[in-house]
């Protein structure tokens, strides 16, 4: 071997197979292999194995990622988990739970989440956190598909449903989805503006409480908006930040639905 040239190491052989040598070192390895046919045979085998392994497992990374591994869902579930104890604490301070501590123990934390439009607002905020950040499938049905499923959505909801038109305020309808809530199914319609800001409009029938309730602001763990109910239908408009336009958007939604 020429003086001054580093001898070929096992690591060089791997780096040769993996294509990680600089041009000069690669020539040295090639020259070495020329004169060592036994090593050459071994390296050929490594190369074949490497290619087969890549072919065998390469496509496994092209499968669609299941919703359970969606980062936006996980991040939303995680922030909710972190917030849960605070919600319980707040309910106790308000006296919800104090007298009925036994009831709370028996029924679990759901009793602490007040019913009525406060519960609706929380469900809308949860949905906004779960879906608005999703860049793959934020909606179940795209806007173009909605006309074909609105009838079904209305059947599930128990009353006819139409997505409010917010184009006058600069928000386009992206599509919609059905949500599950403790009070039954809800419909969500998602909109975005030219800057990619997404808002959700969630509606569902109200049960027992707040069949008609005035518009109230929503501020739930970084999700903002408004919620109200009219004639048994609850509506909440939410965004992932405090948008000045939210009040106006909520008024538009309310006014448009009043005309139905």
């Amino acid at each position: 071997m020429t003086a001054g040239v580093k001898p070929i190491s096992e690591e060089d052989l791997h780096a040769y197979v993996d294509g990680r040598l600089n041009a000069e070192r690669q020539r040295s390895v090639e020259a070495y292999l020329e004169t060592h046919p036994d090593v050459m045979a071994r390296i050929r085998g490594w190369q074949t194995t490497r290619e087969m392994l890549q072919r065998t497992l390469g496509a496994a990374a092209e499968e669609p990622v299941p919703p359970a591994l969606n980062i936006a869902h996980l991040a939303a579930a995680r922030s909710r988990r972190r917030l849960a104890p605070m919600r319980v604490a707040a309910a106790l301070v308000l006296g919800f739970g104090l007298g009925a501590a036994g009831g709370w123990m028996a029924h679990g934390p759901s009793v602490t989440a007040s019913s009525g439009i406060a519960a609706l607002a929380m469900q809308a905020a949860d949905a906004q956190r779960a879906f608005a950040g999703d860049h793959v499938h934020p909606v179940e049905f795209r806007a173009a598909e909605l006309p074909g499923v609105l009838g079904w959505m209305g059947d599930r909801l128990g009353r006819p449903v139409t997505p409010p038109d917010l184009t006058g305020a600069g928000y386009r309808l992206m599509g919609g989805r059905m949500l599950a809530t403790p009070e039954g199914v809800a419909c969500l319609f998602m909109y975005d503006d030219d800057h990619g800001t997404r808002i959700s409009v969630v509606m569902r029938p109200m049960r027992e409480r707040d069949l008609t309730a005035p518009m109230r602001p929503v501020n739930d763990a970084g999700t903002f908006g408004f919620a109200w109910a009219r004639d048994g239908l609850g509506v909440s408009v939410v965004a992932s930040k405090q948008l000045p336009a939210l009040h106006d958007l909520s008024n538009r939604v309310r006014d448009e639905m009043r005309q139905l």
């Binding site: 096992e10 074949t48 490497r50 497992l57 499968e63 990622v65």
Partner: protein, 167 residues
């Protein structure tokens, strides 16, 4: 958030590696989900620290070591015909070649299997692999040599016995 985007981009390769380690789709996805939740807990501490993939694979490796061994034993690395077909589709590879490769991988000791997968399929540098598996680089290189020799012998052995027997 840029960090969340790069986290999302790494999910397919985390799933592939977890599946190759555990050989069971739902066990693999459970492992990936644990890994992602840990990563979300700590992601604020590593804004601007470069490539997120070695960090994620290190988290997953440690989770796998701490609780995954049990799962591996349960799956026993048995390649069932229908199982391999359902969980590792490889349209550009012939089915038999794929089956051989999975069987070959199954014959490797776990530490060798990890190293050869991280290098050839996931494309990590040798230094990155050393950090991910928590072993000196010399150990990584010798595991890689043994894994390659063994896998190659397995593949060649499977291609030839039929011919030899014919005579």
């Amino acid at each position: 958030m840029a960090e969340l985007t790069s986290l999302e981009a790494a999910v397919p390769s985390l799933r592939r590696y977890a599946l190759a380690l555990l050989r069971d789709r739902s066990d693999a996805d459970d492992l990936v989900q644990d890994c992602l939740l840990r990563a979300l807990d700590k992601i604020d501490t590593r804004v601007g620290e470069g490539d997120i993939r070695p960090w994620l694979f290190t988290i997953m490796h440690n989770l796998f070591i701490s609780r995954g061994r049990r799962l591996t034993r349960r799956a026993a690395w048995l390649v069932h015909d229908n199982d391999a077909e359902g969980s590792v589709p490889a349209p550009q590879s012939s089915h038999l070649e794929m089956q051989d490769m999975l069987r070959g991988l199954a014959t490797l000791p776990e530490d060798q299997r990890q190293v050869i997968l991280l290098v050839t399929v996931e494309g990590f540098s040798y230094a990155e692999v050393a950090r991910i598996v928590g072993a000196p680089i010399g150990t990584v290189m010798s595991r890689l040599s043994r894994a390659r020799d063994r896998l190659n012998a397995f593949i060649e052995g499977r291609a030839r016995p039929v011919l030899r027997r014919v005579k």
